[in-house]
């Protein structure tokens, strides 16, 4: 049963600390998305990659957020320095290359910045 995995599942940190979230997409999927979900804003697209190349990161605060795909089996989202307003659930999703491909979401990383 292929699934997207995310680590850590929960993270509590203090303001100013660096946070790194990791995602392993489903094997064979070449499109990876990072989303942030809050009660106020709902599910927002932060960035997405195809074949490890960033296609769109316009939803991501550039000064503190960065997203990379070091290889086809790992995507990372980093926040440095973290702020309380970054507290949210961060989801990774992966998909194939079809035009209406299903996005498969991971379980999310719940981040709390104190």
């Amino acid at each position: 049963d292929a699934r997207v995995t995310q680590t850590p599942r929960d993270k509590v940190t203090e303001m100013g600390q660096e946070v790194t979230m990791r995602c392993q997409p489903i094997l064979g999927h070449n499109t990876v998305f990072w989303y942030r979900q809050t009660m106020m804003q709902g599910l927002e697209l932060l960035a997405y990659f195809r074949n490890r190349a960033p296609l769109d990161d316009s939803g991501m605060p550039k000064d503190r957020f960065s997203a990379e795909m070091p290889d086809a089996t790992l995507a990372t989202l980093k926040i440095q320095p973290s702020e309380p307003r970054d507290s949210a659930v961060y989801f990774c999703a992966s998909a194939g290359t079809g035009f209406w491909e299903t996005q498969y979401f991971g379980p999310g990383t719940r981040l709390l910045v104190l």
């Binding site: 989303y35 709902g42 599910l43 697209l45 296609l55 989801f91 035009f99 209406w100 299903t102 979401f105």
Partner: protein, 109 residues
């Protein structure tokens, strides 16, 4: 900026009742997807509609894509407690999805 508005935001009903959730936009989308999300988990795809006027049925759930591909609806017949969750519509836009704010559904036994 493309936006999708869902209504209602919250819905609490008794088991056996019918309900409809709406997803509206001023923009045209190439596809419209509906996801369901349970607490502590990521959204899971229910259906994709791609043709204006298209209707798809999934057991007690009926999905419709508007003729102009700007809106969609989800109708649940005889809701059950297992239908409880967050329902999200998402519009397809050049390889990425724009999500609505979601409708939280609670079905009480």
């Amino acid at each position: 900026t493309q936006l999708l508005e869902q209504s209602p935001q919250f819905l609490s009903i008794q088991e056996g009742e019918n309900l409809t959730v709406y997803c509206n936009s001023s923009s045209v989308f190439s596809s419209l997807q509906w996801y369901r999300q349970e607490p502590g988990e990521g959204p899971v795809l229910l259906v994709t509609v791609v043709t204006g006027g298209e209707v798809k049925k999934l057991k007690r759930l009926t999905f419709q894509f508007g003729d102009a591909r700007k809106d969609s609806s989800l109708h649940i017949t005889a809701a059950q407690p297992g239908d409880t969750g967050l329902y999200l519509c998402a519009g397809g836009d050049t390889g990425k999805l724009i999500f609505g704010q979601g409708t939280t559904l609670q079905v009480k036994p």
